[in-house]
Symmetry: C2
Subunit: 374 residues, 2 copies
C-alpha cells in the first residue's frame, strides 16, 4: 500500500490533527496518528479520548489499508520535507520520501487502536448518531466563538465547563456561563427536533479549529446521538473533516431568569473605540477588581474612569443613549471579555447600578454582565 | 515642565527600554522609568543594575527637569494611547493626555535613583570611560549575533557566561565559549590600543536590541573604562541611545589552542540547504546525543543520516570537497547552533572523526564544533 500526496495538502491535514493528538497520554496509542490509504484519498485520524478527528485529503492511493505512526516525529518530519510531493509506502515500516530525503518510521499495530465512530453525512436516522441537521458553517462558528469565553475554567463547576447547544423550533442557540456571567448566541435556524447537548469547552476549541479548516464548504453537518455529537464538513473530493466529541452529562440550570428584561438606560456604542478606551482606562484600575466607572451625562457623553495605586485615568466618548443618565461600575475584564468577539455596533442595556446589564450585538449575541457593587 | 511628542516616537523609545527595566526588583526604584525633559528632546532612562540605558527622542520640551514614573503602567498606557500626539506635563503627578484620554500617574522622588554614567561621544580620554573607539554598527552587531549562542548558560561557568571583546592592532574580535564549543568573529578594524572586555551575555542581548533601534546610524561608539563598557549611536537631533554595561572580572583562558589548524577534509556548503537537511534528518536522531552521521563519498556526495527509537532518516546533498572521504558524527544541535547566524556559503573543515572541526563563513566567522565520539 502506497500513497502520493502534495506536501502542502499533507501539511494542511496534519495542522488540524496536531492539537488533538496528545504528545503524552496514559494510553500510549493516543500519541499515534492513524493513516488510511484509499484509492483517491489519504485519511488521517486521531483521538485524545474526548474528541475524535478524521481528516480526508485528496491523494493518489495504491492499495487500501490502515497504519499507525508515532504522531510527533511524523508531524515534525512532514513540516520540514524538502520536495513538493511526498510518497508514503507502507510495509513493515512506513517509508516516506520527498526530494532526496527518505525516512523509515516504525509502525504500531492498528489492532489495539480504539474504534472511532463518525457520523456518515449521507446516512441519517441510524447508527450511533440518529439525529441529523445542518447549519451555515460560518454562522455556527460565529455562535461558538461568541460564547466560548464565558465557560468556566474551574474544575468544580462541572456542567459550566461546557458550551450548551440547544436545538428547537425557534432555532439553534449556543450558551455558556460560569455562574457569574452568561453569553448566548441565537441562530434563526428552526429545527424539527428539541435537544440540548453540552460540549466540553476544550472540545469546542478543537471543533472550531477543525471546522475553520473547511470554512469554504459553507455548511456544517451536525449529528447527535446518546452522549455524542458529530460535526462534519468539507468539499467532495477535497479536504473534509469529521469530528465526534463526547458530551457532558446533564444540562444547564434555567438561566433565562438572569437575563435582564427591563432597562433604565439603553446605550448605542461602537465596539472598537469602546473596547480601546476600556483597555486604556483600566490600566490604572484597582488590581483586585479592575473597576472602571462609566458615567453617562446629558449631552450624549460617556466618561470612563479608573483609579488604582499608581494613579487614575479617564476618557470621554460620545455615545447615543436613551433613558436616565447614571453611574455604573464594572470589572473592566468582564466587560472586555463580553465585548471580545463583537465587531461594529453594540448595545449596552443597563438595568441599574446594582442589577445585571445586557450587552447585545447584531446577529443574535447577548451577554449578561453584572456591575460591581460599589 | 512639559513635553509634546508624537506617540509613535515615544513608543519606539519605550520598546528599547521595556526589556531593560525589570517589572520586579529587590531595588524598587529599578522598576521606575526616568524621564528627562530638555528643550529639543525627551530622554528616557532606566537600569537593571547590570545595564544602564538612555534613549534620546526628538520632542518639543518646555522647561527642563527629571521625573520617575512607574515603568510598567506607563509602558502599557503609552502602547494604547488614542491620539497621534502625547502631551506630558509634570507637577506633583505626571499628567499625560492624548486625544480625549487623560491619565495622572504618581511620581517617585528622583533623589534616591542611582546615578547612571554614560560615555559622552564628544568627550574622550576623561571621565569613567577613558578609552574610545568606533566601529561600523552593522558589523559590530553581526559579530555579537554570530558568537552569542556559544556563551554558557550555566551558573558555575563564570567567565564563559560572557562574550569577550578583544581590541588590538589586528582588529576587533568577539568570542564566546562554554568550554565545549567556541565561536569567534573577527572585524578587520585595527585599533590603536590593546584591551579585552567580557560583557555578560544578557547584557550583550540588551546591547544588540538597543543598537538595532539605531541601526541606520551606521556607526557605534564604544567606550571602555574600569569594569565598564559604553556603547552609543544614533542620529544627531533624532533617536539616539547610550548604554553602559558592567563588565565581568577576568578574561578567557587561552582558547586559540583548541582552534584546529590542519584538516583532512575541506567541504564547501550552502548554509540553508545544509541546515534544513540537518533539521529534517535529526528529527529521528537519538534523543540523548542527537547524533547525525555525515558520510562523504566519492562523486561529491554527502549522505546525512540519523537513527533513533522511532526509525531512521537520511538525505543526500551534493557538496564540493577536497581531501579524504570519511564518516564523521556530530550532535545535530551543536552543528545547527554553529550554523545559526550564517547565510550563504559556509566551509566545514574536518580534522578527523575524533578531533574538533571548524565551521567558517565569510566575514570573519569561525566556530569550533567537536564531533561525537562513536
Amino acid at each position: 500500500m502506497k500513497v502520493f500526496i502534495p506536501r502542502k495538502t499533507l501539511s494542511e491535514g496534519i495542522s488540524l490533527l496536531e492539537r488533538v493528538i496528545p504528545s503524552r497520554s496514559a494510553n500510549p496509542l493516543f500519541t499515534y496518528l492513524g493513516l488510511e490509504v484509499r484509492p483517491q484519498a489519504l485519511v488521517l485520524f486521531g483521538t485524545n479520548g474526548e474528541v475524535d478527528l478524521e481528516v480526508r485529503l485528496p491523494a493518489d492511493g495504491e492499495g487500501e489499508g490502515r497504519a499507525l505512526v508515532p504522531a510527533q516525529p511524523f508531524f515534525q518530519i512532514v513540516r520540514s520535507l524538502p520536495g513538493e510531493g511526498v510518497e508514503a509506502s507502507f510495509a513493515q515500516e512506513l517509508l516516506l520520501s520527498s526530494g532526496s530525503f527518505q525516512t523509515r518510521l516504525g509502525l504500531a499495530p492498528v489492532e489495539g487502536y480504539p474504534e472511532l465512530l463518525f457520523p456518515e453525512p449521507t446516512k441519517g436516522g441510524e447508527g450511533p448518531f440518529p439525529v441529523r441537521t445542518h447549519l451555515p458553517l460560518g454562522e455556527f462558528l460565529k455562535a461558538l466563538a461568541h460564547v466560548r469565553y464565558a465557560a468556566s475554567n474551574e474544575e468544580y463547576r462541572a456542567i459550566f465547563r461546557g458550551v450548551q447547544l440547544e436545538f428547537g423550533s425557534k432555532g439553534v442557540r449556543a450558551v455558556a456561563s460560569d455562574g457569574y456571567r452568561l453569553a448566548l448566541y441565537d441562530l434563526a435556524e428552526p429545527q424539527p427536533f428539541e435537544r440540548k447537548a453540552v460540549v466540553p469547552a476544550r472540545s469546542v476549541d478543537e471543533m472550531v479549529r477543525a471546522l475553520r479548516g473547511v470554512q469554504e464548504a459553507g455548511e456544517v453537518h451536525l449529528a447527535l446521538g446518546p452522549g455524542m455529537i458529530g460535526v462534519s464538513g468539507g468539499a467532495e473530493g477535497g479536504l473534509s473533516v469529521r469530528m465526534a466529541a463526547r458530551l457532558m452529562e446533564g444540562e444547564f440550570p434555567d438561566y433565562e431568569r438572569v437575563v435582564p428584561k427591563e432597562f433604565a438606560l439603553k446605550v448605542a456604542l461602537e465596539a472598537d473605540p469602546f473596547r480601546e478606551a476600556l483597555r486604556r482606562v483600566s490600566v490604572l484600575s484597582d488590581r483586585q477588581n479592575h473597576r472602571v466607572d462609566l458615567l453617562f451625562t446629558e449631552g450624549s457623553k460617556l466618561l470612563l474612569s479608573a483609579e488604582g495605586d499608581y494613579g487614575r485615568s479617564q476618557e470621554e466618548l460620545s455615545v447615543a443613549f436613551e433613558g436616565t443618565p447614571l453611574l455604573v461600575a464594572y470589572n473592566a475584564r468582564h466587560l472586555l471579555e463580553a465585548l471580545g468577539p463583537v465587531e461594529g455596533g453594540v448595545e449596552l442595556l443597563i438595568s441599574g447600578p446594582t442589577s445585571p446589564s445586557l450587552l447585545q450585538a447584531g446577529g443574535g449575541y447577548r451577554a449578561v454582565v453584572a456591575p460591581l457593587r460599589v
